[in-house]
Symmetry: C2
């Protein structure tokens, strides 16, 4: 139906040391892509993700790069116009026609558009890419990113090598459009308080006035026409259309209902009713708010009196939802490589693990459109951050100008996606390593743009704000001896938006990225070091051999090291996700750090290894995120013979329906098949989206005769809710101190 014609261009690329110079050699360019990938391909470099090969890319970030293509097929009809259109150049670019600069732009998110009507076949089109932005030349660290909207992660992070991509990263080509075409189409809607109807408000801007008409059509999720309306266009260039929909099918996150998507079609018609241009987008009707947890207004209650914590509970269509999920970091170092297939695999893995929210962390780039489309379809909620992370972004006019245009572009691009439920200024900006505050102009600008352009969506200046918390990222803190389970159990936060439990990568991944000669034992040099097993954030992170050896002693081989490390990660995450859930409704969010990774690490907190390989912990997290779950609050990981084993039993229900009464049976199991029944709890019925605390078990541990044992919570009436926790046992001769003798009793 659209009469727009699109043409791709055939690009080559070359580098030059200064803006005034020109390339002395050219290479074939893949667009979208990255100049470094084109260079590496031409030079036949080995993969950047193996060993320490990435170090070869160091110098490339400081060159200018010119993409060049010849225009072809430019025969335009009289009422046609030619445009060069590019979804995004990373990062600072110029568009040049036959040597004349037509556009200069800083920022990777604002699309570039230049009218080329009048250009001739054979004309030379260039996109000149400037060197990576740096606020100071050295040292090479993330502070260099503190005056630009370039994702800070590229400057080096504890899971990302120093490698700063440059180049055209989004779809790019020529478009032939009618002289009068749709410039912008913006839909807003509002649902009535009972969700029984929606009022739609459509803002349309044309490139130039035309005597014709605007037709807009709404199709239901089943493809039926909900309405089709038309109005004449005359001398105006902008139009405001309104309509309403009775009983719209609502969009829900997948664990609360169906993610129903309508389709909106807008057509520009000429006087004869022919379609000159058209626009199509999906529409998910839903209302999102951040609301206070019940009773949270009671605090504080002591004079002098400060404020109550800000709200962080996601309410969708009037229903408060416990958000379970993870931090999403870009799954590629080079955004030009981001592919729909990767998104399909990883988002389905997240959904299968019962996640309903992904936080798109501000250190990494925002994703390509396919990502948000898939989240809309899958019913996965998105928290999107702007490109600020762990830095002090100062109030300089030049930076604020770029942030203004970049944020406006991101808001315009992502506003139509119902999966997007939260804007956020960026990561950890109100902590001492960033030192930004509520008064920082960058954050006031972002708040203002979000309010002006997208007021129906909540906005947070950063994460964490008051009541929310990040961390810890360690199974056991060697300084205090405290385990992460207990850190959560003594906390009363409203949202746990980052917490980590690390493990080594799987054997298969390690063999791919680490030369055989370095593999075992791992040492803090070479490829283990380069792939983040040592000396990132903490001296022993992310491999944490010290933590592993505290529990198990030194590993005998790589297989044992990986198995033990992955067990700690799995059990660590289970204890944290479930504790956050047990704190519902005061807490309403549990997002681990992190879901995925942009290249293969040797050790990391992630659940999915690059490119898309699940670690065992993904299944463990999936188990802990099941909507209905028998759960145990366990104080610690190691239990000694003669000690009182004292977990608290809970029923956790995040599902939108009630659960009938049923039994929960607790028992211990050892690897050699011994079973120790502990108790049977006759659990009451459970309301929708509600937890129920159960008995506090107390049971004196005999000699189990195994290094490991499982606590099993069996739920014969709801078999899908059964849980299993693996713990360590130490026989009496290894026990530190015998505790006082207590009879085996159950405290309900």
């Amino acid at each position: 139906m659209a009469t727009m014609k699109k043409t791709s261009l055939s690009w080559r690329v070359g580098r030059h040391p200064a803006r005034s110079a020109t390339p002395t050699a050219w290479m074939p360019a893949t667009v979208p892509g990255a100049v470094q990938l084109d260079w590496a391909h031409a030079e036949e470099w080995p993969p950047y993700w193996q060993g320490e090969n990435f170090r070869a890319y160091d110098g490339l970030e400081d060159f200018y790069w010119t993409y060049e293509a010849r225009l072809e097929f430019l025969d335009l009809a009289e009422d046609e116009r030619l445009f060069f259109v590019c979804g995004g150049v990373d990062y600072h670019s110029e568009v040049v026609l036959n040597g004349k600069v037509l556009l200069e732009q800083e920022g990777m998110y604002a699309p570039l558009e230049v009218e080329l009507t009048g250009a001739r076949n054979g004309d030379t089109l260039q996109v000149i890419v400037h060197p990576a932005p740096k606020s100071r030349p050295a040292p090479p660290d993330r502070d260099q990113a503190n005056s630009s909207c370039k994702p800070a992660v590229s400057y080096g992070w504890d899971f990302h090598p120093r490698l700063i991509p440059l180049g055209i990263w989004q779809e790019t080509g020529l478009e032939i459009r009618q002289a009068s075409h749709l410039r912008t189409v913006v839909l807003d809607y509002a649902l009535t308080d009972d969700f029984s109807s929606a009022t739609l408000s459509l803002q349309v801007a044309l490139s130039q006035p035309i005597k014709g008409g605007l037709r807009w059509t709404l199709l239901s999720p089943l493809g039926e026409i909900v309405f089709i309306e038309e109005q004449p266009t005359g001398p105006d260039q902008t139009f405001h259309l309104q309509s309403s929909v009775a009983k719209p099918q609502l969009w829900w996150p997948h664990d609360q209902g169906d993610p129903a998507l309508h389709i909106l079609r807008v057509e520009l018609l000429d006087a004869s009713g022919n379609t000159l241009d058209s626009h199509e987008q999906r529409v998910g009707f839903r209302r999102v708010r951040l609301v206070m947890a019940p009773d949270q207004w009671k605090w504080p209650n002591v004079f002098p009196l400060t404020r109550s914590h800000p709200p962080i509970t996601l309410e969708i269509n009037g229903r408060s939802i416990f958000a379970k999920g993870a931090n999403w970091v870009s799954p590629e170092i080079f955004p030009g490589l981001l592919a729909r297939e990767t998104y399909v695999t990883q988002l389905n893995l997240a959904k299968s693990a019962h996640m309903n929210l992904l936080r798109l962390w501000g250190g990494a780039p925002a994703q390509k459109k396919a990502f948000y489309d898939l989240c809309d379809e899958l019913g996965l909620m998105i928290w999107q951050e702007f490109p600020l992370a762990c830095n002090f972004y100062a109030d300089t006019p030049a930076y604020l100008r770029v942030l203004d245009s970049e944020s406006r572009a991101l808001i315009a691009k992502l506003k139509p996606h119902p999966s997007l439920v939260l804007w956020c200024g960026g990561n950890e900006l109100f902590n001492h390593w960033s030192r930004m505050t509520d008064q920082s102009l960058a954050l006031r600008l972002l708040g203002s743009n979000c309010y002006q352009l997208d007021p129906a969506r909540p906005f947070l200046p950063t994460s964490p704000v008051g009541g929310m918390a990040h961390g810890h990222y360690i199974f056991r803190d060697p300084k205090t001896g405290e385990e992460s389970w207990s850190m959560f159990q003594r906390s009363h936060n409203t949202a746990y938006c980052e917490f980590g439990s690390a493990s080594p990568a799987s054997i298969e991944v390690l063999r791919e990225i680490i030369p055989e000669s370095e593999l075992f034992p791992p040492k803090p040099v070479g490829s283990w070091l380069a792939h983040h097993a040592f000396g990132v954030w903490q001296p022993t992170s992310h491999l944490y051999l010290d933590v592993q050896e505290y529990y198990f002693g030194p590993p005998e081989n790589l297989e044992q090291l990986v198995e033990r490390g992955q067990l700690l990660q799995s059990e660590g995450y289970k204890g944290l996700y479930e504790e956050a859930r047990r704190q519902k409704p005061v807490a309403s969010m549990a997002l681990c750090w992190c879901l995925n990774e942009p290249w293969p690490t040797a050790a990391n907190n992630n659940l999915i290894a690059w490119p898309s390989r699940p670690k065992p912990a993904l299944a463990a997290v999936g188990a802990s995120c099941r909507p209905l779950l028998a759960s145990a609050r366990i104080r610690k990981f190691v239990w000694n013979e003669g000690e009182i084993f004292d977990p608290e039993l809970w029923w956790l229900n995040d599902a939108p329906h009630a659960i009938p009464p049923g039994k929960m049976e607790a028992r211990l199991e050892t690897a050699d098949g011994q079973r120790y029944p502990l108790l049977t709890w006759e659990a009451p019925p459970l309301e929708a989206n509600t937890n129920q605390a159960g008995p506090h078990l107390r049971w004196k541990i005999p000699n189990l005769g195994n290094e490991r044992f499982d606590l099993v919570l069996s739920t014969p009436d709801q078999p899908e809710a059964e849980s299993r926790y693996t713990l360590l046992f130490r026989a009496a001769q290894r026990a530190e101190t015998a505790t006082t003798t207590v009879m085996n009793t159950v405290v309900v």
Copy 2:
């Protein structure tokens, strides 16, 4: 120089029950003023502030009121235009010419302007005022104000009767202007980091283009020309002029330097260089920021980790300042009565009490221009709130539209004032009695407007935010037995923005407002009740006879009641102001609730009684706010014979200069002239704007033989810093329990 001609109008006013009706009788109207005052004058009602007379005004708020005037002297030259100009109508109004509605507006802050060119002598101009806005008809409480920008205090507060003013409250009249005149003039400036120069940016909009010129002149505080620049005007209607000033004399709050004011003059010239229109405003060059207190980034320091508190320390021209002051409530019930003379008196009283910051509380109306002009001149800093207070202002489009125009009008009006250092969304909105949050659209709107129109000035969404605190408002909490001194001493807040210590009004005031027959003993009925002595906020507030009797027993007469109550207020406030100061730099603000009052209360937390009569506590607060102060942290108010008297001694310095070493001598004095020397502290030198903790005194109290005694801190080297605290003594037979015997020692 200005060629604008102004004409006042002669108004009459009448009331009618419906918009469609017309007044059946007319009364003379005072403009600016209020319809209720015109009515009361015509009806010869007794003063509203005596006894319970205000109750007669109850019904007036629900009428429509029409002001009417005849146009006169309208002979215009060809290039002249006639405008009706009104600074503000309280609250919802229409401007009508010969029966035709020319303008309808909701909101008291946005000025009204209607071009009347073409009107004839004798035409009838009307301003129709709608009934007071109410979100629901009953009950008559402040919730009725939650959908409008009407100051909530008028709907009844614990110091304000229910009385909702209506009418024209600002200057109003006709203006004859040249066809081309200045529409808006907006000056922005930025200071370099070392304050050695300012760049000025002037935005000018004309009513219509003219071939002529724009001249702008900056005069120094001494009246010397800093620059005079001119540029031609042509076909454009808007202009952007830039200039710079080297070494500008800076504006400072009075206790840190001189409040230097430059003058900016902008003139519109015709082709011959004649002035067609001119604009003049004062300019105070200063940079204001909210900054973190030193070391505050260290907290929190435990995983899971939340944010650091937001900054609240005022930094002026690079210097962190401890803000001392009070909450300013409008000194009149009727804003039309606000007079420059009242401002002169009360602002000078505040300055004399060493206050440097006034918080213009959001429950009361913003003030007339003279207020801000005086603060500029006196070097008093202003924290200005928008009209939201203690209510849930919902996200309704109609309310947001009015808030948008009202806030834009306030920002435009107040932006030029250097004394204004902080915008704030309103009072106590993030507490359970308001239930607004960071996500409330009203506050997102205000944040956005402040950022867009006035980004160089800090913005708070409300008070308190995290770290800041309000209260307590009671000398001794009867529920817990804790005194307000100790509440502050156990707190670690960043700013104490409201705290109260109540007292009865002086005898003179009480005799004016309470009929002789009711005067003593006070009872919770009639005038004592109506004037807030009982049953407001707490059953016994604000007279707090229970608290007074706890310390002194029942008063024998009114004089004794007043003396004891005013002593408690004075000593209460001293302990709170000084404790906040002792907590510097973690704390950086101490603002009592409240400075003044809009009518004469019988008991209140205020320091200045209506209309402008200081209570004794004003002098006590002034003593505690002296820049250099010998101060004692005293745990409690009553001391028993045999107890260990254990104040901590401090030197407090808020002055911008250092203090040499000196002695501080502590002694006790009784009313009958006994003196007990306690210790002499050889204090070290003190840096500018810095405190110094001194000895922790410990001294066993003998029988002092008096009900009261004074702790005196004498400072012979800095006599202006001497302090005196009055405390209560109870001899052994009245002592509750003897404490353990400790030798008189000094812990340094």
